[in-house]
């Protein structure tokens, strides 16, 4: 007994009622008084606190450290920037795991590797043996000097924020790192964990300071969790445990690393990584893995079995090493399994409420023949009896923070009931529902979605006239001195409309050329990206075109729109950085005091280092003009060969001296949707300032080609006519409309602030310089308040702030004033709107009747042409429908 080791928090565990057991030579709490089930559930609903100081912590330093780690680990250590962590394996030459581990790069010149407690000595010996072949690398075992505490669960962020003296949490993405001061000492914090919780932190603290910080976290509401629930939580998250899913199988054979689904992210076969232990075996496993995914089992001998989540459908608990059968055939065995609890959910989707009722379910991980598939039915032998089970894709999902969501294998969504009518009754039903919806949104709701706008009666009517049913494909031919050639007859009217629209938009934007055929803002962006790829490959038409080498943009969590992200329209056009093995995107740094504003001086260094081929300004959460002129000056001065693109979707209708003149500031290309602050029908445009004599005019020609035939055949001619009317309206009324929108946004922001709401942005400029206002309503409560506002006829969208983990955890509301400004609301009216919002959000009052009656006073759309002179022709047009 005396040989057992204790962590620096041992006394806390005993005092907290921990049931102490021997775990890998450590006296650790298996559970506390509440028990495993209660601790599991507390982590899933609130926040669990784990002492994981028993794990091994090695620090590698020296110039040769990266090279060494590349040799003894499977992941790509070189890919880690300072401030990032990665999951990795410690491979053996046969492609099995000596251990699995997490590699952290908190600071320059130092790597921290965390390994399993049970393998600490083995891993150290393994590394020591291989160190002999490397120069300039030192390994130090810091397991005793540094304590490690894990804080996991929906409340973890709030609890941690509450104890921080200075510094901020790492950015809200998995594997991000940072450092803060807690209780006067430095705590290094990683967004990592072993529970599947989307809000997850691991803290590294000097050992002697750990107990006081442990106490502080408990005071703030963290609940201690023992090793028992740590295991059930990781099992539910289908995370491997060495000795079960990694290492040796029950027959004593090595488990190939690629048997673990996580191997895809933990093994790098990048040529830049070079040779490493097990590379040959892992390359073979990877090849087999790829074929197996494609239902090709020709290489199955290299990866005979894979570890998959299995739900037990019958009664009983499947524990390792229970045998698994399909019919009479023995297909594998359970590697981990027990019954785990979950919270019952009432309702579906985002509106689902996590109740106080718990349920138990029997789940396991099993190592099964590689030709088995999700959904396959199995039988597990439990005490001599066969129990039904099924292969499932997962037991838990983490993509809807702040909660990890249990996924039950036999759950199905409620079926949406369609109309029960037939034939004409069905048609009448649709007409009635549309009427109802249109009256509600047009007459009874205060519409504050900043990306929406009601078009004028003329614009709307024009959009459904004859051109709505036509085609007008056309392209310029050099053979005809770039005269446009139309493919179909009967298109003379459209040719004129398109040309007039280009003229109006050129005048509005102050630029040389406009492409109007994109049917959405996202398509407009994709056209530019595709054109850039075409353009940069113009000298080399016989090889696979290369993608954009590096793109600089606004990160999606700081307001960047998905159309400019690798997850969105940029995906197929940006290269993978061979070093990081991720899309070659670098984000604008933002000001610490105002995350809605780009940190211009900090951009300079990044521009010099990355020399992006494309710089994309513009956001969907936009409170300020973008620093186009400043960045233009930097790139010109440094000679960065780049294209500056500004996606003005949100602020297109504000272009001008009241907000920003993108081309005067130095943008090369402007894109945008035409229906947010602009008056249009729902379309997209691309504009540029390249003159025909410029070399870059080739890029503009590529934009035209990638529009047609690259992106559209039919370019929705009805709304094109409507957009021309909208452009006439905009050019005619903008001097009056634009200052009103901005003044109204400031009035709404100021009034919300006076009502006691937490308004984002810079108070010195009235919180906003656009049509948007951002209000914080409390972490993860955005969806709930947005729903309550909708119940009161106020339509807004919930918005994740830059420090939140995702849109389901959104704690803000995004409001826009453009549409209601167009319906005649002025500054004083927006003060009334602010009061309505505060009544719903702060006072939990019902204001539906008041909102409906108030909106009734603003049903005539302004900033558009009207009057007797148009009545006759409008009537004739109506009559033709």
């Amino acid at each position: 007994m005396s040989e057992l080791r204790r962590t620096v928090l041992y006394d806390r565990h005993v005092a907290g009622g921990g049931k102490i057991v021997d775990f890998a030579g450590w006296e650790m709490p298996l559970q506390y008084a509440g028990g495993i089930v209660a601790e599991h559930l507390a982590t899933r609903k609130r926040a669990g606190l784990f002492d994981v100081s028993h794990m091994g912590r090695f620090v590698f330093t020296g110039k040769g450290a990266t090279r060494f780690l590349q040799h003894v680990l499977t992941n790509n250590a070189e890919a880690l920037d300072v401030g990032q962590a990665q999951y990795t394996m410690i491979p053996n030459p046969a492609g099995g795991a000596v251990d699995d581990a997490y590699l952290y790069r908190f600071v320059e010149g130092e790597y921290l590797l965390v390994v399993n407690a049970a393998n600490r000595q083995k891993d150290r010996d393994h590394f020591a043996e291989h160190l002999a072949g490397f120069d300039n690398v030192e390994m130090a075992d810091k397991s005793e000097d540094v304590a490690m505490i894990s804080l996991q669960g929906p409340l973890a962020g709030e609890i941690l924020t509450g104890v921080i003296d200075s510094g901020t949490l790492p950015e809200p993405m998995r594997n991000e790192l940072g450092a803060v001061v807690i209780n006067g000492v430095e705590a290094r914090i990683a967004r990592t964990g072993y529970t599947g919780e989307p809000v997850c932190f691991e803290l590294f603290i000097e050992s002697k300071a750990a107990p006081a910080i442990w106490d502080l976290l408990i005071e703030r509401g963290a609940e201690p969790v023992g090793l028992g629930a740590r295991d059930t939580l990781r099992l539910e998250a289908a995370m491997p445990l060495y000795g079960h899913e990694l290492g040796l199988d029950p027959d004593g054979r090595g488990i190939p690393i690629f048997s673990c689904p996580l191997a895809r992210f933990a093994v790098s076969l990048s040529p830049l990584k070079g040779d490493f232990i097990g590379i040959e075996a892992l390359t073979r496993q990877h090849e087999a893995f790829k074929r197996i995914l494609a239902d090709d089992y020709s290489l199955i001998a290299d990866l005979p079995r894979r570890i998959v989540p299995v739900a037990v459908a019958g009664r009983g608990v499947a524990r390792p090493p229970a045998k698994v059968f399909v019919g009479k055939k023995h297909v594998g065995f359970v590697t981990s399994g027990t019954a785990v609890p979950c919270w019952e959910v009432e309702g579906e989707g985002l509106a689902g409420r996590i109740t106080d009722e718990k349920a138990m379910r029997s789940v396991c991980l099993a190592m099964l023949d590689s030709d088995l598939r999700e959904g396959d039915r199995l039988e597990i032998e439990i005490r001599g009896r066969m129990t039904e089970a099924v292969i499932v894709p997962f037991h838990l999902r983490s993509e809807a923070p702040p909660f990890a969501r249990a996924i039950l294998f036999d759950h199905s969504l409620a079926v949406h009931e369609g109309p029960r009518h037939r034939g004409p009754a069905k048609a009448r039903d649709l007409l009635e529902k549309t009427l109802e919806n249109t009256i509600w949104r047009q007459r009874e709701c205060i519409n504050l979605i900043p990306s929406e706008q009601t078009a004028s009666p003329m614009t709307r009517l024009l959009s459904v006239m004859d051109p709505a049913f036509r085609y007008a494909e056309h392209k310029p031919l050099k053979a005809f001195y770039d005269a446009d050639v139309f493919y179909y007859q009967g298109t003379g009217f459209i040719e004129v409309v398109e040309s007039l629209l280009e003229d109006e938009l050129r005048e509005f934007l102050g630029c040389e050329a406009v492409e109007t055929r994109a049917v959405s803002g996202q398509m407009a962006n994709a056209i530019v990206f595709s054109a850039m790829v075409d353009y940069i490959n113009r000298a080399d038409r016989k090889v696979q075109p290369r993608r954009l080498g590096c793109v600089m943009n606004n990160h999606i969590i700081r307001g960047g729109h998905l159309s400019s992200q690798p997850m969105g329209a940029l995906r197929d056009f940006v290269a993978h950085d061979p070093r990081t093995e991720r899309p070659a995107v670098v984000n604008f740094p933002v000001l610490p005091e105002n995350p809605y504003k780009i940190d211009v001086p900090a951009c300079r260094e990044l521009l010099g280092r990355y020399r992006p081929e494309l710089i994309i300004f513009g956001k969907s959460v936009v409170l300020h003009p973008e620093p186009v002129a400043e960045i233009r000056a930097f790139v010109d001065e440094m000679g960065v060969n780049t294209v500056i693109m500004y996606d003005m979707a949100h602020v297109l209708g504000l272009v001008g001296p009241n907000f920003q003149e993108p081309f005067a500031d130095g943008a090369d290309i402007v894109t945008g949707s035409t229906h947010k602050t602009f008056f249009g029908t729902q379309r997209g445009i691309v504009a540029s300032n390249y003159a025909e004599a410029d070399e870059r005019y080739h890029l503009w020609e590529a934009v035209q080609r990638r529009t047609f035939p690259g992106s559209v055949s039919n370019h929705h001619l009805g709304t094109l006519v409507g957009l021309l009317m909208a452009a006439y309206e905009m050019n005619h009324f903008k001097d009056e409309y634009q200052p009103k929108v901005i003044a109204n946004a400031k009035a709404l922001a100021g009034a919300l602030k006076r009502c006691g709401m937490d308004v984002a942005g810079d108070a010195d400029v009235g919180y906003t310089q656009t049509h948007q206002v951002i209000v914080h309503v409390g972490y993860s409560r955005g969806p709930e308040f947005a729903r309550r506002l909708e119940d009161n006829n106020i339509i807004v969208n919930y918005q994740a702030a830059p420090n939140e983990e995702g849109f389901t955890a959104a704690g803000s509301l995004r409001l826009g004033v453009a549409e209601m400004t167009r319906f005649g609301m002025a500054e004083g009216d927006f003060e009334t709107v602010a009061q309505f919002i505060a009544d719903v959000v702060i006072n939990d009052k019902s204001v539906k009747a008041e909102v409906k009656s108030f909106r009734g006073g603003f049903t005539d759309l302004g900033f558009c042409f009207a009057g007797d002179e148009f009545d006759g022709i409008m009537e004739k047009l109506h009559g033709l429908i």
Binding site: L30, Q31, I36, V37, V317, T338, A339, M360, S362
Partner: protein, 129 residues
Amino acid sequence: MVPAELRYTKSHEWAKMDGGTVTVGITAFAAEQLGDVVFLELPAVGESVKAETPFGVVESVKAAVDLNCPVGGEIVESNENLTGNLELLGKDPFGSAWMIKVKTAGDADFKNLMSAEEYEKFLEEEGEH
């Protein structure tokens, strides 16, 4: 303290004689050791059981444990209420969380069991290991 009127096994079952029928359950110590019980399997009425052999299984999150029958005989009742209300094992192990009733031929098996006093001493000794 364990109920004085019951008799006990080394695997922490208790037994209560009532005429020719023995009621069987697990002790508070066993329930506490198991932690959160998630599954219980009891024999059907009419099955026969032998002394010191398994009659069922209780599973917690942590482990599966055999339930050993203190006496031999025939199952005359199985506590169906308990299988759906496993939390009773923690709340009332010596009462409503009884598991089976066994009709036994004599009292030889029963007499072999530990008395309350002996079981408490046994628990103390176990604790020292």
